[in-house]
Symmetry: C2
């Protein structure tokens, strides 16, 4: 549901919010008093995850990955990280290779929390990550942006801001991704501009890029300001998250190690996701790619816990495969779906929240994009995913953020959200009285049972067109992708900047200005 | 995989088949000696079905539907059917209403088989229906056909024949549907022409329409001739199937009752499928629509078993919902997905094979068609579906058979078939040796483990384009729907008529000619 639709049913809430903005008290008090915003709907998956491998097979992958970490080890490029690991008992030689005894890995990961509360500057947008909860982020990382009108082009801050407005508008998007790289902003300033845009254009918890200690601390400080919390409170509760990808195979580079260490020290959430493309950076078998994924994830998770036991960390699975004819990465493949579900089984074996993704290799927001994304979504969500990254907007293997695909994805996510609402089975819903009233050969349009429920009985689509063929044809035979184009435009046109205390906004602006004067962050 | 691709790897099989065609012996002996055709791949679903309701809720729907049958009853319009039911102990009054004691329903359905072997004229195309097996049919019933070149038009025998060629070509399609109505053939002759086309252009088991006793017996006789079996053997083994839809709510009309009785007497397979659109022909609640579906299905199944205990019958679920704003039927909705999975739970409660469908309300073979079909497919297949009707080609709520949608569906089905192949987890696939060989920071393209497996490691798509954006753009930025257009054309161009004994073909032709001379079938 968009913000506009919900505005119409919550005028009094809006009035309350406006009044609160003029009120007194600390930003925290004002935030706490603010009514729930309309554009956030927490999701729970009530169904038992699909298990594609047996418990014995989960154990076989677990033990194989411990063997990898013991016998092959991983390269850790940051000396500080090697020191932490050596101190904990890992086998660190003269080079960058680090090997782990199984007991060290198992005791280290045991301190990771089962569930993470990711606080947003509006408490109503705070997400729980773990258990049966499902938190959804936008696409993250594409250098390009595309839409039907302007085609594919380099990412920009303008485009980034549009994705922030869409993020704020749809209630099935819970946290910010890094939807597109603003290539028009110099790298040392980029984290300042994107964090500012995310914090001011949405009320949802932000993603921050792991590009070195400076940039992380800048972003964390901005999130602290926006949330109106003390440094101590910030460092004890996750208010933002990052993703740390191993350089598969079996390598953790400097910025990624810095990301783990900094986020752990600052108490912020991190997703440890090896990027294991079977046949390229990982073995060509799904079991082998999962073994490598698991080894890399466990090593990173262990590092986070050795820095700070209890650091909020999420097990990331991103095993897919390449097209062996061309080497091109493929996404939303049957192997991807299986790997996502098996990754969920592995994460649950360790009691860790599980991250997966909504992906496609399609170059256009077309039928292929839809069916590959559905294969990803079902793999992720019925695999027990707790944090769905790239939830909306991913196209072209992650190289492009598509505005039309964003809308198609929101529709698919809304449908999954409705699927996650179990239907009631009780005397009223079993409808014996209605069947008695209507009888054989009748119809239910006018039945009392129908009239009492018809307004909210079924999922109401954002994008799907259910009109008959003639009506659809008379109105121009507009297909789903072209309808999505109209929907993102109207959503942007109707978008509202969420309230923020002017003093907080000024403090953020001053921080950005100061850091720019200082030359921004030192990026590797 | 298409026939062409597989022809290239099975030249010797083809040579064997040609030789057999020139051999001696009865048609049966020759059929049995023929090698497996390339275009049939049996599917098993190795995963535990998703359960969207509890066992107690399944029982609540079961008991509510028995209450419906006892207290409200159903209208049975065919006197012969009422006589059969009355003789078995049902409460049949002066009108058409029939009421059933729960014990009568439960004892009658207890004789239905758990599993059905549906024999095809080529034994290699024989399907098992039940257990973990998944049998897929094309779309059935649309009065219209469409493709990108010619647009939407009335169905014709030419179009029907093209769909038969596509049915034969793709190995994930196991049985014939009635893909499009040949509106250019007079109704009394239509079953003769479609059955002839199906039997001669494919080797797969045919669907026959339930349009009265005459037409059913004509079609069954043609299937008997094509299979080269005696009347006794025909009547003891299913060689074709039909679908009997209740006239929801709670009504079984004459042709449908005749269908149940005739198919049971002739030992042929039937699918009992109420068409329960929640809010229109069924209560607006999913639980209520399922209760009505279950009551209607159980009544029809009971009739089949009272005619002939052990008659091959399949539990059909087709509960969806209407758009309450317009009354338009919707398909592939979240409610549809839930209802499909719950229907599977009901079918398994009775130990019956379960039929579901691949549906969409979209008017174009676009992204909406893809994601609604995926929601249907996942609901059906993870709901434990044994017979997937409308598997390929359904568009526009079933009013149009689309050639492009057929190809999109085949791709989605092939992906599900690959998802259904569990990946091995053993020493070789865990790939420790490969990881030792490649080591941290390397890549797997040239590894021995990769080279030994790269040709068949992953699903190879029919329709998906995984090339990078620049290559895709340079070759015309062709989207999935337009690629599907090229694929159905090349598949038709490459299609081969499967072998048939000339004497059998002559016998079929003579039968059709005679029945036409006699005026065809007496259709109500």
């Amino acid at each position: 549901m968009t913000r506009k639709a919900q505005r119409e049913v919550s005028q009094s809430d809006d009035a309350g919010r406006r009044k609160n903005r003029r009120g007194r008290g600390s930003p925290q008090e004002r935030a706490a008093a603010r009514p729930a915003p309309p554009s956030f709907r927490g999701l729970r998956n009530p169904y038992r995850p699909v298990e594609v491998i047996s418990t014995d097979q989960v154990e076989a992958i677990h033990h194989a990955s411990l063997t990898v970490l013991k016998e092959i080890g991983i390269n850790v490029l940051l000396p500080e990280a090697r020191d932490i690991l050596a101190k904990a008992g890992a086998d660190v030689g003269d080079d960058t290779r680090v090997r782990f005894e199984p007991g060290l890995i198992e005791s280290a990961i045991a301190t990771a929390p089962r569930r993470i509360t990711l606080h947003a500057r509006n408490p109503a947008c705070t997400s729980e990550i773990g258990g049966d909860r499902v938190t959804v982020a936008t696409v993250g990382g594409p250098p390009n942006v595309s839409d039907l009108d302007r085609g594919r082009r380099s990412g920009s801050l303008d485009a980034f801001e549009d994705f922030m407005r869409l993020t704020q508008a749809f209630d099935v998007i819970h946290v910010i991704g890094m939807p597109v790289e603003p290539m028009d902003i110099p790298i040392p300033f980029r984290h300042l501009e994107t964090t500012f845009a995310g914090l001011t254009l949405t009320e949802k918890a932000p993603f921050i890029y792991s590009r070195g200690v400076d940039a992380l601390n800048d972003a964390i400080e901005m999130v602290r300001i926006a949330n109106g919390v003390s440094r101590d409170e910030m460092d004890s509760k996750p208010h933002c998250y990052t993703v740390v990808n191993a350089n598969s195979p079996l390598q953790l580079d400097r910025p990624m190690s810095e990301g783990i260490i900094t986020m752990a020290r600052r108490g912020q959430a991190m997703v440890l996701t090896p990027f294991t493309l079977a046949g390229a950076m990982a073995p060509i078998t799904v079991a082998g790619a999962l073994t490598q994924q698991n080894a890399e994830a466990l090593a990173g998770i262990a590092l986070s816990q050795l820095v700070r036991p209890g650091a909020p960390v999420i097990y990331g699975g991103f095993t897919s495969n390449v097209d062996m004819k061309t080497g091109a990465p493929a996404f939303g493949t049957p192997e991807y779906t299986q790997a996502a579900m098996a990754s969920g089984q592995l994460a649950r074996r360790y009691g860790l929240p599980f991250r997966s993704s909504n992906t496609t290799a399609s170059n256009a927001p077309d039928a292929q994009a839809a069916y590959e994304s559905e294969m990803s979504l079902w793999g992720a969500l019925m695999g027990g995913c707790n944090l769905l990254l790239h939830g909306a907007g991913w196209l072209e293997g992650g190289l492009t953020a598509s505005l039309e695909k964003f809308i198609i994805d929101v529709e698919m996510l809304q449908m999954m959200a409705a699927f996650f609402r179990p239907f009631p089975v009780d005397d009223a819903s079993l409808a014996l009285e209605a069947m008695r009233e209507v009888g054989p050969g009748g119809h239910y349009f006018g039945a009392a049972h129908t009239l009492a429920r018809y307004e909210s009985a079924f999922y109401s689509p954002l994008l799907s067109d259910w009109r008959n063929f003639e009506t659809w044809q008379d109105s121009g035979s507009v297909d789903a992708t072209r309808r999505a184009n109209a929907i993102w435009k109207s959503t942007l046109a109707d978008s509202q900047t969420p309230p923020m205390d002017p003093a907080v906004r000024e403090e953020l602006e001053a921080f950005v200005a100061r850091r720019k004067t200082e030359g921004g962050a030192n990026i590797d």
